[in-house]
């Protein structure tokens, strides 16, 4: 079992004709992902890596029965590409693009509440169900299938922690990189609740970082709603204070959350052990299983 993607997921790649789109489509297919179409306006009728390209996502859905998208579209056009996925009633859209204006994402976020599509990202590595499918840019060879779920805000930190897990035989059900932007589709809480419902996931690793309050909210969710044990990691304990959130940002909540300390405390209070190193996270997962 897995969450969000499996071997039956039929993927359309938006922006398949670009450099990154083409490279990672090939990588995804090599991994076994069922990429059924590409979508690039004006490029309908072409083929990339043996995959037919359509001008619109809705054509790809109609002709190839696509039910998920991966978006490699430049930032200026990325929000529009996400809207197109949402409007085409896909089950899942994964936005890899980094640097989408926050106000565009605010509008996307509003639209998300009105549709059934799960959005993962943006500014994320995507997600993978080992030995079944990967949607995104994750290096497939470091993952192995098993019973540990993983959710992380940082792409490369995801790889690091997975490497530590895999090296000692702790395979994964699904690993989801949710992205580090201020406004994202799938939150920690969304991913944790999907893992909680997945019978094959026996433990979850949650990797957070400084900034925002998502980890604190996740801690609350874990304490109240989860039976599946969770191990945590928080990056940025030594981060310089200058990297804190901007001026007015802190006014909204009126509290000094967002530091590594407040996140670690919140997770500890929810019964989540937080490792000092990625290796220690793997130790903790072994203890929880």
């Amino acid at each position: 079992m897995s969450i969000l993607v499996d071997e039956d997921t039929r993927v359309v790649v938006q922006g398949i004709t670009g450099g990154e789109g083409k490279f990672h489509t090939e990588q995804m297919m090599e991994y076994g992902t069922n990429v059924v179409a590409g979508a690039v306006p004006g490029r309908g009728g072409q083929e990339v890596a043996g995959v037919p390209v359509y001008d619109t996502v809705s054509q790809a859905v109609r002709e190839e029965d696509a039910d998920a998208s991966v978006i490699f579209v430049p930032p200026a056009f990325a929000a529009d590409a996400i809207f197109e996925s949402l409007d085409s009633e896909l089950d899942l859209a994964v936005a890899i693009t980094e640097g989408i204006p926050t106000q565009d994402m605010s509008k996307v976020y509003k639209r998300l509440s009105e549709v059934d599509t799960h959005l993962v990202g943006p500014n994320c590595p995507g997600l993978i169900t080992p030995d079944e499918a990967k949607l995104g840019i994750l290096p497939g060879n470091i993952f192995s299938s098993g019973n540990v779920g993983l959710v992380s805000r940082s792409g490369t930190l995801t790889y690091q922690v997975v490497d530590n897990l895999t090296n000692r035989g702790l395979g994964q059900t699904t690993a989801v990189g949710i992205g580090g932007d201020p406004i994202i589709g799938t939150s920690f809480v969304d991913a944790l609740s999907l893992f909680e419902e997945d019978p094959e996931t026996d433990a979850v690793v949650m990797c957070g970082e400084i900034g925002g309050e998502d980890e604190e909210q996740a801690a609350e969710f874990i304490a109240e709603n989860m039976d599946t044990p969770v191990a945590g990691f928080i990056a940025g304990r030594t981060a310089p204070p200058g990297k804190r959130m901007g001026h007015a940002g802190a006014i909204v909540s009126g509290s000094g959350t967002g530091t590594a300390e407040s996140k670690i405390d919140a997770l500890n209070d929810a019964g989540v052990p937080v490792g000092d190193t990625p290796e220690e996270v793997a130790d903790n997962v072994e203890d929880l299983l």
């Binding site: 990588q27 930032p75 940082s154 930190l157």
Partner: protein, 381 residues
């Protein structure tokens, strides 16, 4: 991207928000002539992008030429929290009876913009938010529809603004929201919005931060960007386009992805070393970018040891290895020991390309960091 006060004020004024008469000055003579044309009393305000300028001696109220000269002499050239003051704004001193706060920002938790109004303007609004959160009225805005007139009224009346000026404050807030929306601001703020004895409102300060990711469609504002680095290395990082922060330690750190680089810093600290910097080369870095990153860290005289931690996803190990080779092959002797840890996409190809005579290779993050910390410690023994 943060605008200077004078820049934000001109944007606000062009949009119809009342602002005091003012002129920019770069010398004592210019301050005097500006004060002459604005008319005493005037405020002389340092134009540097830091908060708390008043408390730090960067703002002075002056009544005449003599005081203006003294203020100009003391403020121009002063060091204000690490920034040298090169310009001041000479501004009409507003005779006020009340100071309000008006602001718009993104509530990232809600994914929506939020408009805020408070009667407690003129002070550190973050302290107000901390100590008396109810003193700030908030109104979340649907990003698809924008701030509606009734919402502007509601937040203004909820904040307890006097009925006599409520209409004007609503109008300022509405304009501020339009600016926030049209100009891709991450936040816009007026603190204080002064109320004069005639019952008029006037923006005595102006804050506008623009979303860097949206500058591609904000050409006019992008042109206002002024480099303001306190440090030569940060200036260099700006030229190379790196996310870079200089720190106090001696272990130089280069990696890809903010989360992993932060983790590498945390581990250097955990294993008893001190990070010299945060340097994220970003996703998909090619060889020349990697070489620039090494150049950057080598040019920090505090650095005694370097650790390269790359876990490739969109970044490819072969490109990283080429960049490291390019940067190191130009030296007869490597200036500081470099530990390299490569994993992920094309890591095997990278390991084959990497010139192992020039670097120390480690397989795991933990080993690489420990080795780099030891390298730095050996220098001090």
């Amino acid at each position: 991207m943060k605008l200077h006060e004078y820049q934000a004020k001109s944007v606000f004024a062009d949009a119809g928000i009342p602002t005091p008469d003012s002129q920019l000055a770069e010398s004592t003579e210019e301050v005097l002539s500006a004060a002459e044309s604005v008319g005493y009393p005037v405020a002389v305000k340092a134009q540097v992008q830091v908060g708390g300028r008043g408390k730090a001696g960067g703002i002075e109220l002056v009544e005449n030429d003599e005081e203006a000269r003294e203020a100009a002499d003391s403020i121009l050239g002063m060091d204000l929290k690490g920034y040298t003051v090169e310009r001041v704004l000479v501004e009409e001193a507003v005779d006020f009876v009340d100071e309000l706060y008006v602001g718009v920002t993104m509530d990232r938790g809600e994914g929506k913009p939020v408009a805020m109004v408070s009667r407690k303007g003129g002070v550190n609004i973050e302290e107000v938010a901390e100590e008396d959160p109810d003193a700030i009225a908030r109104e979340h805005v649907d990003p698809a529809f924008g701030l509606q007139p009734y919402q502007a009224r509601r937040v203004v009346y909820d904040a307890g603004i006097d009925r006599e000026v409520a209409g004007d404050v609503s109008s300022v807030l509405t304009t501020l929201f339009s600016l926030w929306d049209d100009r891709d601001a991450s936040d816009t703020e007026i603190n204080p919005l002064m109320v004069t004895s005639d019952g008029e409102v006037i923006a005595a300060d102006a804050v506008m931060n623009i979303d860097e990711d949206a500058l591609f469609r904000q050409a006019e504002l992008a042109e206002m960007e002024e480099e303001s680095y306190t440090d030569d290395l940060e200036r260099k990082a700006g030229e190379y386009g790196f996310d870079y922060v200089r720190l106090e330690g001696d272990v130089g750190i280069i990696g890809n992805g903010a989360g992993l680089v932060m983790t590498t810093l945390d581990l250097v600290d955990y294993y008893g070393g001190e990070p010299a910097n945060f340097l994220d080369v970003g996703g998909g870095a090619k060889a020349d970018r990697i070489a620039n990153a090494l150049d950057m860290v080598f040019s920090d005289e505090n650095v005694e040891s370097v650790v390269f931690n790359i876990f490739g996803g969109i970044t490819r190990g072969d490109e990283v290895a080429k960049g490291i080779n390019n940067a190191l092959e130009q030296f007869d002797e490597i200036p500081k020991p470099v530990v390299v840890r490569l994993a992920g996409t094309n890591a095997e190809e990278g390991m084959e390309i990497l010139n192992a005579d020039l670097v120390q290779v480690e397989q795991t993050l933990e080993e690489a960091v420990q080795r780099a910390v030891e390298n730095a410690q050996e220098v001090h023994q």
